[in-house]
Structures are given as C-alpha cells and as structure tokens.
C-alpha cells in the first residue's frame, strides 16, 4: 500500500469508531465502548506506523505525496479537493497524535468508568482524534480549516461534557467562540494568499510562492501570514486569545491531557511549520509570532505561579510551553519546535493524568490549598508527577531538557535581537521549575491531609454530596457530573498502564536528538523543509555548552527556591506572597486579560444587542416604520375587517381559481 493509502486509513479508523459508538449508544454494555474507542485509535496508530515505514522506503525527494478522493468545491476561483498530504511533517504529527491518544483513551476507560455519559464520551473523543488527524493530514487550505474547526467543535463538546454544570457550558461556548475568531483569521489569511497563488492546494501554493507569486516583502503576504497567526494563536492559546484554555479545564481531566495539552493546542505550531515557505517570505510575520510566543511563555509562567487550581496551573504551564514552540517555529527552529511538541505531549499528558489521579483521590476537589502530603498514599502517582515535573523543568536527562534547550540554542544562534528571546526563554525556564515544584511540594509533601490519610488507611475518599469545585454548586445527581466514585492510578490498571508508557516517553524521548550525538528528528523531518532557508544545519557553536549547563542550573535553582518557599512550611509562602503583593495581585488576576476582553468586546456587543432588541426594534422599526403611517394602518385594518367579513376571502378564492384555470389551460395546450 502506498503511504497515502495508509494516510486515509489513519482517518478511516477513528471515523468508524465514531459511527460505531453513535449507532451503538444504547446497546454497548459496560466498558465495551471504551475499548472500541481505544481500539479504533490504536488501529489508526498502526496505520500511521505503516505510513511511516512506507514513506521511509522512498528516497528523500519522494516523501511528499498527495492523494485526492473527490472534488469538494472546485468552481469559480477555488479548487478544494478532498485531498491529504502525507509527508514527514504530517506523519510525525499523526504518530504523536495517535500514539498519545491511544494511551489517553485507555486511561479514560478507568477514569470515566462510573460516568453516565461513558459512551458519549468515547464518541466525542474519537471524533476529536478524527478531527485532529484531518487537520494535520489536510492537503489544502479548505480541508485544513475544516479540521481546524472540527477540533474546535470537539473541544467544545468535551469541555461541556458535564453539561449540567453552568461553568462547563460557559467555558465551552467561550472556547468555541474564541476558536471561531481563530477560524476567521485562518479564512481571511487564506483569502490573502489565494489572491496571489490562485490555488488552495498546499504544495501548489508553496511552489507558487517560491516561483515569485509574491513580490519581495509583499504586504498581502505579511497580512496573510499574520492572519494565519491569529488562527494559530486562538487554537494554541497564545496571548491575547488564550483566555479560553484555563476555563477549558472544566472538562474531564483526560480531555485536558489529550486536547488541552498534547494535541489540539499544538495545532498552531504545526500550522506555522507547515506554512514555512510562506512565513519565510514574510519575516515581519515571523517576528510577530516569535514575540507573541515569548510574551506568552513568560506571562503564562507568572500566572502559573499563583494559581491554586492544580489543573489550571498545568494549563498555564501548557500555554507557556506552547509559547516556546511558537517562538521556535517562528524563528526557523522547526525541528526543535516540533521535537518539543512531541516531548511536551508525553510529559504534559503524564502530568495531567497524575493530577487526575489526585483529583480522584480528593473526590473531585481541584484546589491545591486542600491537597497535602499525598506522597506516601500515592507513590506511583507521585513518581509519575515527579518524572513529568523534572521533564517539564528541563532537568537532564529527561526529555524536556533536550527539546527546550534546542529551541533557545537556535534563538541564540540566529543572534541579533533574538538574544532577547533567548533571555526570556531562560527566565521562563526558571519560572517553569518554580511553579512545577510548587505544585509537587504542596500536593505531595508535608503532613498528609484527611483524604491522603484515608487513602493510606486503604479507603478511597468519596464526597458526601458531590459538588462542582468551580462554584460550589451541588451536582445534579441525575446526570452531568463526574459520577459518584472516582478512579485513581494506584488502583486502576488501565490508568497505570497509560501513565507508565508516557513516563517512559517523558524520560527517554529526548535521547533521539542529542546535540553532537544524533539528529533523528532533524533528519526525519528534513524532506518537508527541503526548500527552507532556515532549516537548522548541524553546526553548533560555543553557546551550546553554556546553554546546556546554564539551562540545567536554572532548572535546579528553580526547584531549590520552590523547596525553600513551599517545601518548608506554609509561613514562608505567605510571607513571600505579602512581600510581593503588587506582583502577586497582577498574576493572580491573570494580568486582567479576561476583564479587558470583557470590557472591550463582550460588553459593547451585548449592549448593542440589548439596544437593538429593546429600543431600536420598538421605537424605530415598530413605531416609525410600521405604526407611523397611520393611513397604512387604517387601510390595513379595513383589509382585516374585510377578511372577517369574508369578502376578501371570496376575492382570494377567485384569484386562486382563476390562476388555476389559466394554468390548466396551458397544461392542456402544452
């Protein structure tokens, strides 16, 4: 089979999974639905491996292949086909997506075991994976936008999964609408590019761009690329379109692991990498991407320091890490950015899963203020969290160390003002170690809380009245809350299995690309970036050693300071917080992004809507345009009186009959 056939198979399995789960939503017993969903994704993973092997058997020049099934919309001015592009970049992405997704499906089988929406959950989850795979396999702009929007919809469905919670439905619509803003950016950007390249096909557009479809530093190209960035920022939660991601933590924890850490939010990184032939001709757009990425990684890091909800800390950490990736692919560090995407998928999914295990032990409670001393009660979870945390903090030899430093290394190599990015990156690394180990020291160390003690004694804590931790509302026990009992990794084999494999990835995945030793990712991706002027060459300067040692020291320093503040009793933390009051307030208020968007966009729109509905409709449309000309109204009432008297009815019947007669006449003539 050709590599594109495998590509279609990668899409076919999750689609079959969705259909099977939808059709069987009433009749699937027990955990069957979960296993069907997992199997569908695992088969997709095998197909992705098939694509990989077939592709590697071709020469480097023949590794980009397009296949089209049918004409979707080929008409005046557009040429959208149902086509996929299978090349090293998309194969890299489908391997990461299907691999991590399989594990998260398996984890979910236990985690959502007692939930009443079990089948629905797996149908959504399979639909999400299908959308994500469509996004990365799409061979043209239109199909990319379709995949782009589908993952947004799937994310909405999963965020609002417990739909009786108002907090969940609110978070869902917020995520959806911000994602639509991103879609709009993508569509507009496509318009700008289409105007010059006259094709929606990726390869065709890139060739046109290389052949000089855009003049040097073309304004349209810069505008188009910046609009594509808007799409990327919305999907990848970059400033200022990031506010939906922390709220998205309303979804079940495995969803956060899959969508809001490992896959969907990295779509923006993929987009920039995929569009590199365009971005490289629009350096201004590249700079915008790099600066926004750097700003995001810093700001998200500071917010992560002060959040008290464990999932939100990890969410801000995700934003921050994606900031690294966006910065990386925007300065031409494509392989490094994508490498970090992969290692991040492993260790961040792992962190979310471990957090899910704690949340299970806390019976749904997510506040760090209430967690304490789980180390002894949950040794396995602790181990996983520690591995994830060390990888995230960039401590060697864990995977995050290699991938993050490589991005910063290239920033340094490119020199000039990008030294600022380099500095920001290391400052961010310090913050990362700080907030990560803040979580670990608070949740796992110290004197065990009541729930941890109970678990140590062999009982799993269950809340008396299940309640929504976000607003304290008592759950609707009919349906729509996580279910009365919870699963934890210590006791559920599927969860342990998934976490173990991810932990192996988080430890070892960095070894495939070690500076001066091996360049697996670099070499593998190279054919997709064959025409790139920036694709990294294997020449490393002296900053390499400085970066590796410095990065390690910064990470260790962060951990040490975290221990000093949060590991040694609560007083230090409070004292610290008091001393840095203004900063603390700013960080805790999340830099006021939500408030600013509310003030600038949401309120004016709502006010205009109310004015239109309550004032304008009533006074202008109704009174002036309808009621005003009283003559008309009188004529109207006369008309209605005649309806009542039956006269008009008679006339109308005559008209109808007359027309019918004429029609009959022509019918007979024809």
């Amino acid at each position: 089979m050709s590599q594109t056939t495998y590509g279609w198979l990668v899409l076919a399995f999750p689609l079959a999974g969705v259909l099977l789960l939808c059709l069987g939503h009433r009749s699937l017993p027990g955990r069957t639905a979960g296993w069907i969903g997992s199997a569908a994704i695992f088969l997709a993973f095998l197909a992705a491996l098939g694509a990989l092997l077939t592709m590697q058997s071709h020469g480097a020049d023949h590794r980009q292949q397009v296949s089209s099934l049918w004409e979707y919309a080929v008409t005046s001015g557009i040429d959208a086909r149902m086509s996929i592009l299978v090349d090293p970049l998309s194969v890299f992405m489908i391997l990461v997506v299907t691999g991590v997704s399989t594990l998260i499906h398996v984890y979910s089988v236990s985690y959502l075991d007692k939930d009443r929406g079990f089948v629905r959950y797996f149908a959504y989850l399979n639909f999400f994976v299908l959308s994500m795979l469509l996004l990365v396999l799409a061979g043209n702009f239109l199909l990319l936008i379709v995949g782009w929007a589908f993952v947004g919809a799937a994310s909405y469905l999963l965020i609002s999964f417990w739909y009786r919670r108002k907090t969940a439905t609110k978070a869902g619509i917020k995520a959806f609408v911000i994602n639509v803003v991103g879609d709009v950016g993508l569509v507009l950007g496509t318009f700008f590019i289409l105007g010059h390249t006259h094709t929606l096909e990726f390869l065709g557009s890139f060739h046109a761009a290389e052949a000089g479809a855009f003049s040097h530093a073309s304004g349209d190209l810069v505008a188009g690329c910046i609009l594509l960035l808007v799409g990327a920022f919305a999907k990848s939660a970059q400033i200022p379109l990031h506010t939906w991601l922390p709220d998205a933590m309303e979804g079940p924890t495995p969803v956060s692991a899959l969508i809001h850490a490992a896959t969907m939010v990295t779509a923006g990184v993929y987009l920039i990498a995929r569009m590199h032939p365009l971005f490289e001709r629009a350096p201004a757009a590249q700079d915008v991407g790099a600066v926004v990425g750097a700003a995001t990684l810093l700001i998200a890091g500071t917010i992560g320091l002060v959040q008290t909800d464990i999932k939100r800390v990890i969410a801000y950490s995700t934003m921050s890490q994606i900031g690294y990736m966006v910065m990386g692919v925007s300065i031409g560090a494509y392989a490094a950015g994508l490498f970090h995407l992969m290692t991040h998928a492993f260790f961040k999914a792992l962190l979310f899963m471990a957090a899910g295990s704690i949340i299970g032990a806390m019976a749904g409670e997510q506040s760090l203020k209430k967690m304490k001393g789980f180390r002894k009660a949950m040794p396995f979870t602790y181990g996983c969290f520690l591995i994830g945390g060390l990888a995230l903090s960039g401590i060697p030899p864990f995977s995050g160390f290699f991938s993050k430093d490589e991005i910063l290394l290239i920033a340094g190599e490119r020199g000039g003002w990008r030294w600022i990015l380099y500095g920001v990156g290391y400052l961010g690394a310090f913050l990362t170690a700080l907030y990560t180990f803040r979580m670990i020291f608070i949740a796992f160390h110290g004197k065990p809380c009541a729930e941890a003690q109970e678990l140590q004694a062999g009982h799993l804590h269950h809340a008396e009245h299940p309640f929504n931790p976000a607003d304290g509302e008592i759950e609707d026990t009919d349906v729509g809350f996580p279910g009365p009992s919870h699963a934890i990794a210590e006791r559920a084999l599927p969860m342990r299995f998934a976490m173990s494999l991810l932990a192996i990835g988080a430890v070892g995945a960095g070894l495939i690309q070690i500076p001066k030793v091996d360049y697996v990712v670099d070499d593998f991706l190279k054919p997709s970036f064959a025409t790139s002027a920036l694709y990294e060459a294997h020449t490393r300067s002296g900053i390499l050693i400085a970066g590796l040692i410095g990065g390690t020291l910064i990470g260790l320093a962060g951990i040490a300071i975290a221990w000093r503040i949060w590991g040694s009793g609560a007083q230090t933390a409070t004292a610290f917080q008091e001393r840095l009051r203004p900063l603390y307030t700013l960080f805790a208020a999340k830099w006021y992004f939500d408030e600013a968007i509310d003030l600038l966009v949401v309120r004016p729109a709502a006010a205009f809507g109310r004015f239109a509905k309550d004032t304008f409709e009533r006074t202008v449309i109704d009174d002036t345009l309808v009621g005003g000309p009283s003559g008309l109204v009188r004529a109207g009432s006369a008309l209605v009186r005649s309806i009542q008297s039956g006269l008009l009815r008679y006339y109308a019947a005559m008209i109808v009959l007359g027309v019918a007669a004429v029609g009959l006449y022509f019918l007979l003539q024809a």
Partner: protein, 535 residues
C-alpha cells in the same frame, strides 16, 4: 422529463382535488384526512419531479467568465400577445437547486402536517388548498422566465400566506391580526412597487429601443435601459425583494409574523419565500439593470452588512427561540445579499449555495423549536428550557448538527457558501468583507446559545426530557440528510450553478472591471481547449 407546467401545477391540482373530495365526503372522518394526504402526495410527487430535473440538469460549457448558460426544458407560450407577455418557463443554474429546495421543504412541511399528533387543522380542505397553491406559486416564481409572469406568481404566492397566518396562526387572535396586517402592508407595498417597475421595464425598453413590447427576460436582457430608468426601477425591485428577505430596516413585519405562523407554514415561509427575493436580484435585477446594480452596489452592500450585524446582535440577545431563528435569518440573508452585490462570480455562486443551505437549516431549526416547546411546557422562551438533552441523545445530536450547520461550521455546505460569498466581497470591497466576518463570529454565539440554553444546563422548571419520536424524526431526517450530503459533497450543487451565477454578474462586471473580463475570456478560451484535450 415532463413539462415544467406539470411540476408547477401538480401541487395546486392535488390541493384542489383534496378540497373538493373533502367537501364531497363532508361529515365522514375521511373528509378530514383526505386533503392532507393528497397534499402530501402532490408535494412528494413534485419533489420527485424536481429531483429528476436536478439530476438531469446538464450545465452547458462552464467557464467562470463567459455567459453561455442556456435554459432547459423551456415552455414558451404567448399569454397576452398584445402586451408581449409570455407564459415562459425554463430551468437554468440559478433556479434548478431552488426548485429542489422548494419541493423538499413543502414535502417535509406536508409530512409534518400529516404526522402531527394534535388534531388536524381546522377546515383542513382550505388549509391544504392554500398550502398547495402556495407551493405552485413559489415554483412558478422560480421557473418564470417572463417578468410579468414572475410578478404574477410572486403575488400569488403571498396570498395563501396571509390566510395561513391569519386563520390558522398561533397565539392571541389580536396578535395574529396585527401580524397579518403588518405582513399584508409590507408585502403589498413591495408587490405594487414591483408591478410598477416590471411594467415600466417592458414599456421603457420598447420605447427606448423602438422594438415591440416584450417582458420575456432573455429578450429584455438585450434591451438595456437608459441609466436613469435603470436606477429608479432598480430601487423599486430592491424594495420588494428586501422586504421579502427580510433585510434591515424592512424587517418590521418579521417578528410578529414569525410568531403568528404555524410551524409548518413558518418552515416553508422562512425557508423558501425569503429566497425568492434573493433569487430575484440574481435572475432579474443584475442582468437587466447592470448599471444601476453597479451604481447602488455600495448601498446594497451596506444594507447587507447592517442586516448581518443587526440581525446577529438581536439574535444573541433575544430569548424567544423563534425570534432567535428569525433574526439569524436576517443576518444570513444579509450574507446572501452581500454575495450577490459583490458582483463577483464567487459571491453570486456562494449566495446561490447559501440560499439552498439556509433553507435547509432554518426549516429544521423551526421544527426543533416546536419539539423543544413541547418538552418545555409549551414555552418557546429559552429561559424556560434547559436540560432537554438528558434523555434525548438522538434529538440532541440532530439539533447539534443543525446548530453547527447554522453557524456555518467549516465542513458544512454553509461554510462553503460563506467562504465563496466572503471571497467575492473580499475581491471587490475588502473592508466590507472584514466587517462581515464579525457576523461569522456572532453566528457561533447565537447558534450555540440556543443549543446550550435549551439542551444543556440545569433542567428548566417545566421541562420533561423526552427522546424524539419516530414521527418527528421522519420530518427531520430528510432535511438533515440533505444537509449532510451537501456538507460532504457540495460539488454537484456548485457545478450546476457555476455558469449561471457567473453570467448573472457578467453584465455588472463588464462595467466595473472591463480589463479583467477581457483577459479572463482569453484565459478561459485556453482552458476550454485544454479541457477538451483531456477528455
């Protein structure tokens, strides 16, 4: 295929036979069911015929820039020889899909009427007679190729709706009356303006060119009016069509009207009748008055833009579910107008596709609102709903598909339509396209808000969650099937409308960008030769 007259008059004939049979059998129980059954048979037969026409329709040689589309299945009989009025019907790329949409929505409405759990409507013979006459008239309006014939069908199509609203409407009698008055006033004024404009077109054309008077569209296209005449006639037509759509600020009849109409009536009224106006722009106004269309392009674009923004804003503040759908239609029709007056082939084609798409989504939305109100203690206010999804996963899934199509989610044909529309506007007026995108974002707010407030959140006070019944499912399935088919494969629809859409704007384009057109013509000539070679 049989003549188009059969397609047009079949529904009315069925309605008439039903009415007569019902009177003849007065008193027996069959007298109450026969009209509905016959109406269903008539509308389904019309649907079968129109599907036949769609399948059989062969687009002539297609090029993006050349007007080579010819009419098919032409019926041409002199109606009133002395006035040059013909009874001329024909199918082209502009109306072929709309005829299918009309037949589908009427058939579905008849299905809904026959499957209604509640009693059959009062005086069923009249109810179904009016309904079927309406279908005949709408089909006639789409198929008419003579200006006066178009006007006649246009007016004929409105009359049954006055009665359907006034006599079988919902709510208080006084509200119904008020709604009917508004409807009559608005549409009557529009119709009169249009009649005057239509007569003026024929008369002035014959005066200015010294030819015998004619109202046949194809002949009128060759007889361009002077610029001054074009302009005022344009405004008259525009007024009539904009009222029908409805567009801001001529939508005053819509809120009361929509609230008063029975759901089946509303499904076809909002799904099909609004399209007659948009169709009129493409089939009549642009080809006959290209200079005026260029002259008033900005005005029309602004009306469209305001309709989008205003309709969207009201839709996301309204709590009455019907009005959410109603104002969302104002916004959607705004997009359609935007596409038409981009005066670009992409825009026109997107507008045509969007007419079909809007009809396909708005009809199920109204039907779903009926189902929701049955589950929410009879209220159509979204504040009284909530939590319906609980025991109704299938219903929720169907509603979700419709809601996502309504907000023109990429992957739906609605998105393809909006994409083409905005691409057309983008090419002609960049800023307007950018503002238009605000409507895209707003649509996601109101569509999801309607879905969430009714299906999700806590259970409303009088809500009883219930799965969709087979009967109701039967009504929704054909519509959702059509939505999904077009979502997966919009190409057949686009192929059929391509040539006619670009010829509809060709006249106006020749005025705005003569150079582009000349180059394009030579290019498409080259394209034609390569296409011929590949075949």
């Amino acid at each position: 295929m049989p003549a188009l007259s059969i397609l047009i008059w079949l529904p009315a004939a069925c309605g008439l036979v039903g009415a007569i049979a019902s009177r003849a059998l007065a008193g027996s129980p069959a007298s109450r069911t026969i009209p509905g059954a016959l109406a269903l048979i008539g509308s389904v037969a019309a649907l079968a015929l129109s599907i036949g026409y769609i399948v059989e329709y062969t687009p002539g040689f297609q090029s993006a820039h050349l007007a080579t589309q010819t009419l098919q299945h032409v019926t041409d009989v002199t109606w009133i020889a002395s006035l040059g009025i013909h009874y001329k019907l024909g199918i082209d790329g502009l109306n072929v899909l709309l005829v299918g949409l009309t037949a589908l929505l009427f058939a579905v409405a008849m299905l809904a009427g026959n499957l209604r759990r509640e009693r059959t409507p009062d005086r069923p013979h009249l109810y179904y007679l009016f309904f079927m006459v309406a279908e005949s008239a709408v089909l006639g309006a789409f198929l008419a190729q003579d200006l006066i014939l178009f006007v006649a069908f246009f007016d004929l199509m409105l009359i049954p709706f006055y009665f359907l609203t006034g006599m079988w409407g919902e709510g208080e009698r006084s509200q119904r009356v008020r709604a009917t008055i508004k409807l009559v006033i608005y549409t009557l004024v529009g119709s009169l303006l249009m009649l005057a404009a239509a007569i003026a077109t024929g008369v002035l054309a014959s005066q200015q060119h010294g030819t015998p008077i004619t109202f046949v569209l194809s002949s009128l296209q060759g007889l361009h009016l002077s610029r001054g005449s074009q302009e005022w006639i344009f405004l008259f037509f525009a007024a009539a069509f904009l009222v029908k759509m409805p567009a801001f600020p001529l939508h005053g009849w819509m809120p009361d009207g929509y609230k008063a109409m029975p759901i089946e009536v509303l499904m076809v009224f909002s799904g099909v009748l609004s399209k007659v106006g948009a169709y009129g722009f493409l089939a009549i106004v642009l080809p006959l008055f290209p200079q005026a269309a260029v002259h008033f392009q900005m005005l029309m674009l602004l009306i469209a833009l305001v309709s989008i923004v205003y309709g969207t804003a009201v839709a996301f503040t309204q709590t009455d579910a019907r009005l959410i759908a109603g104002f969302s239609s104002v916004a959607q029709l705004g997009f359609i107008t935007l596409g038409i007056f981009s005066l670009q082939p992409q825009g026109a084609q997107g507008a045509l596709l969007q007419m079909v798409n809007h009809g396909l989504v708005v009809a199920p939305v109204f039907f779903i609102i009926l189902l929701l109100s049955r589950r929410a203690g009879g209220s159509e206010d979204i504040r009284d709903m909530g939590g319906v999804a609980f025991r109704a996963p299938v219903f929720a899934a169907l509603f979700l598909i419709v809601a996502l199509a309504t907000l023109a989610m990429p992957g739906s044909a609605n998105f393809v339509g909006e994409f083409l529309i905005l691409l057309g506007v983008f090419k002609s007026k960049l800023v307007i396209a950018i503002i238009g995108f605000a409507g895209v974002v707003g649509a996601s707010v109101y569509a999801l808000r309607l879905f969430i407030r009714s299906m999700h959140n806590r259970v409303g006070p009088e809500v009883a969650s219930r799965e969709i019944s087979i009967r109701d499912g039967l009504v929704l399935v054909p519509l959702i099937g059509a939505i999904l088919f077009l979502a997966l494969y919009p190409q057949p629809a686009l192929k059929r409308s391509e040539g006619s859409a670009s010829s509809a704007v060709a006249g106006a384009r020749a005025l705005t960008e003569p150079n582009v057109l000349r180059i394009a013509a030579s290019q498409s000539g080259a394209l034609a030769s390569t296409q011929g070679g590949s075949r």
